[in-house]
Amino acid sequence: MKNLYLPITVDHIARVEGKGGVEIIVGDDGVKEVRLNIIEGPRFFEAITIGKKLDEALAVYPRICSFCSAAHKLTAVEAAEKAIGFEPREEIQALREVLYIGDMIESHALHLYLLVLPDYLGYSNPLKMVNEYKKEIGIALDLKNLGSWMMDELGARAIHQENVVLGGFGKLPDKATLETMKKRLSEALPKAEYTFELFAKLEQYEEVEGPIIHMAVKPRGDVYGIYGDAISVSDGFEFPSEDYKMHMVERVVEHSFAKHSFYNGEKPFMTGAISRVVNHADKLYGRAKELYESHRDLLRPTNPFANNLAQALELVYFTERAIDLIDEALAKWPIAPREGVEVKDGFGVSTTEAPRGILVYALEVKDGRVSYADIITPTAFNLAMMEVHVRMMAEKHYNDDPERLKYLAEMVVRAYDPCISCSVHVARL
């Protein structure tokens, strides 16, 4: 029996966050078991916020995940506002989406350049690429800085944005700052396109080629985007967000502090950039639309590695989209940062597209407090499907050098946009 222990990098896990591992158990007649172990301690976010004042709970939810803290904040706030029967004005909604896009740009840039690219270029650590890949690291930093600056301006800071409050924002940037934001976004566009060209050249491993069920939030207003009130499935089915529990069924699995989810109770599914592209590419516009048309064969629904390129495509799309959204807000200038809200009793479900896929918040409010909370994060949705793909990879490579298998297994997990530290444990029986 041979035991190996190897670090890999994995995603922020629903409710738990942090450390996870891949365990591949090989017997004489092939791969016996593949498990994604989520070993980080539970943080009980739903339980600790029940009975708490709504605004305080909303301050705590983003702390579930730093890479997606704006996603958590905005989704939680939308669920809360739906629960209390408040609808933000269009221009506020537009600026909230710009903030969300800041998160998207930063997260995609970090994932693609710092977490994925080193694998392809043969580095263990992105910092080691600095001398040889000056241009790429420069672009990574520029895009990342743009995203975090957008979050600083609109959210008070890049991680855990306190400036998003019930009814709007605490304070809005002035008009000149929004003009500067537009300018910086247009300057970023060629860098986003360069990223797309770069990732279009990278290998997509055919070992993991096969049918995948994709789920994505159906964008509001029929433009490719982040907010929506229904979920679309790649098999053509569509359901209202409120019914998420019926079609995205969660189960506790014993090797993980994060639960696994299944479509209609049995089928693993995928969510994330590629799922958005697969289900809603017809709603893209601008330069991203052209890039999609010319690279359809690479942005295919059958390979999880296509998620990397889909993220690069989104860098292009969301950069352009943010400019349009800022224009929408500026057209109504000057705008009031927030409206008074009355915290009534009620129940609200918000589904949005976080960088890594569908994020669900269901909140019930009673007497100004959270009386029920259910939060499901994209990685939790993806875990079951990720296990399937790691298994496919393992089945092709279990006879290879274990180091190579671990490497490939990590790459599969990373393609789903993992961002936490993780370990692979390969046991040969």
């Binding site: 539970p42 943080r43 339980a47 702390r63 730093s66 990342k144 800071r157 991680i159």
Partner: protein
């Protein structure tokens, strides 16, 4: 310190925000020639948890039995141990319901489901090992890292701030949210260093940098002010506990204000 400084960044249970904050600093590229990263799973594939280091940065709260063992090993291997962020220093937001039982919390989230690892209630790192320095915040400000790293690299020692957010808030000239809007701002008891970030956006401080040392943190006088504004004892405690649940003085000091008061 001579030669390259060996640095480890270790994560316990957390949101990964503190290390993301560090990873996002372009300045760390300039530090690289001076440092060797021995362990940092978020960025480095070749990371080693059990190697000796000069400085160990620990993020996250101790939340599983495995993490208890991990922090002990980190302490044995490190010359300087730095607890980074509100999770490591104060137990983090996950300690907010410290008074409930683990069983109760587990049932709310997992029902009857079981997993093979051993969870425990979240605790600050200091409950298990000696910590040499603390970097406060959820997440810390970038300059907190630069200051700490910079002073360590020249062989010196960073100092703690011992005045509240209000000081920075007054210097910045923001309108006072507590006095002018009557909102429960925690600035008066919270350790400064963020330049009163949230009041600058018109949002009340939630105390993410944790209370200043308890001899300086006047939970009682702030509780009195909150009480005068009609906030109940329970609500005051809950707000103050968001980032201070493990503070042994908090309850007692708030209690004092409500002695003999019927709610």
């Amino acid at each position: 310190m001579e030669g390259k400084v060996r640095i480890g960044f270790y994560a316990l249970t957390s949101c990964y925000g503190c290390q993301l904050q560090l990873a996002m600093m372009d300045e760390i590229l300039q530090l690289l020639p001076k440092a060797e990263i021995v362990c940092w799973f978020m960025l480095e594939r070749d990371s080693y948890e059990d190697e000796p280091v000069d400085i160990a940065f620990i993020e996250g709260s101790v939340s599983t039995e495995e993490e208890v063992e991990l922090v002990k090993r980190i302490r044995e291997n490190a010359k300087i141990v730095v607890a980074v962020g509100s999770c490591a220093v104060h137990g983090g937001v996950q300690s907010w319901e410290k008074d409930k039982s683990l069983e109760e919390l587990w049932k709310t989230v997992y029902g009857d489901g079981k997993v093979k690892f051993e969870p425990k209630m979240a605790e600050p790192v200091e409950n298990y090992i000696k910590v040499d320095h603390r970097i406060y915040g959820c997440p810390p400000e970038k300059k907190d890292f630069l200051y700490a790293l910079g002073t360590f690299l020249v062989g010196s020692w960073p100092e703690d701030i011992d005045y509240p957010v209000c000081v920075e808030c007054r210097l910045k000239g923001h309108p006072c949210i507590l006095i002018e809007k009557g909102e429960p701002c925690l600035g008066p008891i919270t350790r400064a260093g963020c330049d009163a970030r949230c009041p600058g956006f018109g949002v009340a401080c939630i105390g993410c940098r944790g209370a200043i040392g308890y001899d300086v943190a006047w939970f009682d006088s702030l509780a009195r002010t909150f009480k005068e504004k009609g906030i109940s004892k329970e609500d005051i405690l809950q707000r103050m506990k968001m980032f201070n649940a493990h503070n042994p003085k908090l309850e007692e000091m708030v209690e004092k204000i409500f002695q003999g008061v019927e709610e």
